[in-house]
């Protein structure tokens, strides 16, 4: 729980430094998120894309690749899910097709960045950032143009009921979406993939020592493309769930930056797939409460962005400090 206690302390300090009472803020945060069934439902819904975009950063990160493209991959997954979802399909197949094709769209966008890195030498950070902007304009075009409903609303047609995700009613006004189980499953699959398969072993080897891995015969180019593709598919799935579970269509103001939140989630989880679950719950708590915080205490929503940036940087600093300590101990 180290990083989370740390994250809470940093959040408290930031609020205090900006002239707000951390205790008041925590009271509001707890009340509007964990404190009520409706709040809890919202919190779990918001943690779903965060788990997936967090994984989309972690999987390639273990091979030393930075995927900053979660945002664009999420958008593409979402828009494809909205298009397929609005078509008529056989009942059982519909949701499967929506998920599969949405993941393909995100995956191809990720693999494109991987290809540019492996074959054309374009650094994946710059590649994914540029692809984010291209994806953003592309989906804007689709929503305003070919996929527009043409009724003055900037969104696609609503999806069929067969393309909606199932949900379990656990209390009177609290249900859990099947999407959450899919996200949790992905976290455990990624954990197994990285630690229990040769593919995962090679991936981690690439991240730990790229030179030795190359000499050991790991096909670096193929791994780069596949890993970025897998990351894109995970972020694409986040977009699919946003469409299928929450919005039921795709519109211009689709996501509040879950792709970028994923970077903070990955750092909070310190690169461990299972740990994205608590990390995503932490950030989704803030994302659930940010509207109430702004309304009741006047804390601007952008405070969450500042907190994310500060956490990413501080966790990286801590990582370096620990590493240096280890090296010193090893040296005697």
């Amino acid at each position: 729980m180290g990083p989370f206690g740390f994250a809470i302390a940093v959040a408290a300090l930031l609020l205090w430094g900006a002239g707000y009472s951390p205790f008041e803020a925590f009271r509001v945060i707890i009340r509007s998120s964990w404190g009520s069934p409706a709040g809890l439902e919202l919190l779990l819904l918001k943690s779903m894309p965060l788990i997936l975009t967090g994984l989309a950063v972690i999987v390639p990160m273990r091979a030393g690749l930075f995927n900053i493209g979660g945002e664009g991959q999420l958008y593409l997954g979402g828009v494809v899910a909205a298009y397929i979802g609005s078509q008529v399909f056989p009942i059982g197949l519909h949701i499967v097709a929506v998920i599969a094709l949405g993941m393909c769209a995100g995956g191809l966008w990720g693999a494109l960045a991987g290809y540019l890195k492996a074959k054309r030498g374009v650094h994946e950070v710059i590649g994914t950032i540029l692809l984010n902007f291209i994806a953003l304009h592309l989906v804007n075009y689709l929503v305003l143009g070919p996929l527009s409903t043409g009724q003055g609303v900037v969104r696609t047609a609503y999806i069929q009921s067969t393309a909606e995700m199932w949900r379990i009613q656990v209390a009177e006004n609290c249900s859990i979406s099947g999407g959450l189980f899919i996200a949790l499953l992905c976290a455990f699959l990624c954990q197994g993939l990285l630690y229990r398969t040769p593919f995962g072993w090679n991936t981690r080897a690439l991240g730990e020592n790229p030179v030795a891995s190359r000499y050991a015969g790991i096909p670096v180019a193929r791994y780069t493309i596949v890993l970025m593709g897998a990351a894109g598919a995970l972020a694409g799935l986040a977009g699919v769930l946003e469409t299928s579970v929450i919005h039921r269509s795709f519109h211009a103001r689709f996501g509040p930056g879950y792709g970028f939140d994923g970077i903070a989630v990955a750092f909070l989880a310190r690169g461990e797939p299972w740990a994205v679950i608590p990390a995503a719950l932490f950030l989704s708590t803030l994302r659930t409460a940010d509207a109430d915080l702004q309304f009741e205490l006047g804390v601007p929503r952008e405070t969450v962005l500042i907190l994310e940036g500060v956490l990413i940087v501080l966790i990286a600093v801590l990582h370096q400090v620990e590493r240096r300590k280890r090296l010193q101990e090893a040296a005697g």
Binding site: R120, I129, L131, F133, H137, Y141, E302, L305, V321
Partner: protein
Amino acid sequence: MISVLLHAAAVKAAPILWASLGGLYSERSGVVNIGLEGMMLAGAFFAVLGSGSFDSPWAGIFCAAIGGGLFGLLHAWLCLRWKVEQIISGIGINLIAMGVTGFLLLRIFNAYGNSPSVPKLPSISGDFLIDIPILHRLVFPLGWLHLVLIAAVVLIVCFFRKTVWGLRLRATGENPHAVRSAGIRPERIQYLAVTFSGILAGIGGAQLAIGDISAFHIGMTNGRGFIALAALICGRWTPGGVVIACLGFGFVEAMGEHLQGKIFSLPAEFYLALPFVLALLALAATRWSARPPAALGKTGV
């Protein structure tokens, strides 16, 4: 018509060029600067804040330089003192800059999304050339900050080519150990270079906020910092190359606005995405032949 287009291209290129020149300082000293976008954004906000509070756009530029410079200093401190991976530090800086500008916009101006209008930088209308319309349309209206930019380009070329400090900076990016054995601290040069990089990117933000228009919008840099980074790579980390690459990106942006709903009936989004597509293609085409500074990105050791 063509002179109008070229003029628009140069105007669009100016903010990108400021940031790209900033990136040049940082990366030639060996520090990758993904944070240019955030530094530009901070510059844009502080330019508006300064221009509004002191009722003078020149004070705005000063504040933009300080705001961008502080973020540059933060980047340098994280990369050099704490050996944080440079890309991670840059990502953090972009997020913090996004957050801080939005936060302050609400707290200081009490506004969501857009700041109120503030005094804008003056420009020269150049009436004495009105008799030669082609030339007049090509050059004017010319902002005073554009003139400063042209002077800055000349000075920066001289700095890198002719001065001992330029040589030291380039040497630091190639081989910091050699610089150290010559009795100069490479860290000191990198601190100065990265801070200066933030200052230039900040002025780029000012160009955008109080040069081209006269207000701040949330996220108004809109990827220009990343385009600047791409221009730096396409320009092969040289001042001349950077100028040409930025003019190229400015031309694409200007052409997009010019062609919108005119000759071709292509959608607006196509033109908005065009600079990014082009940046990606240019990087894919040139990256192997371009040689980055040898020690780029290696302060984390």
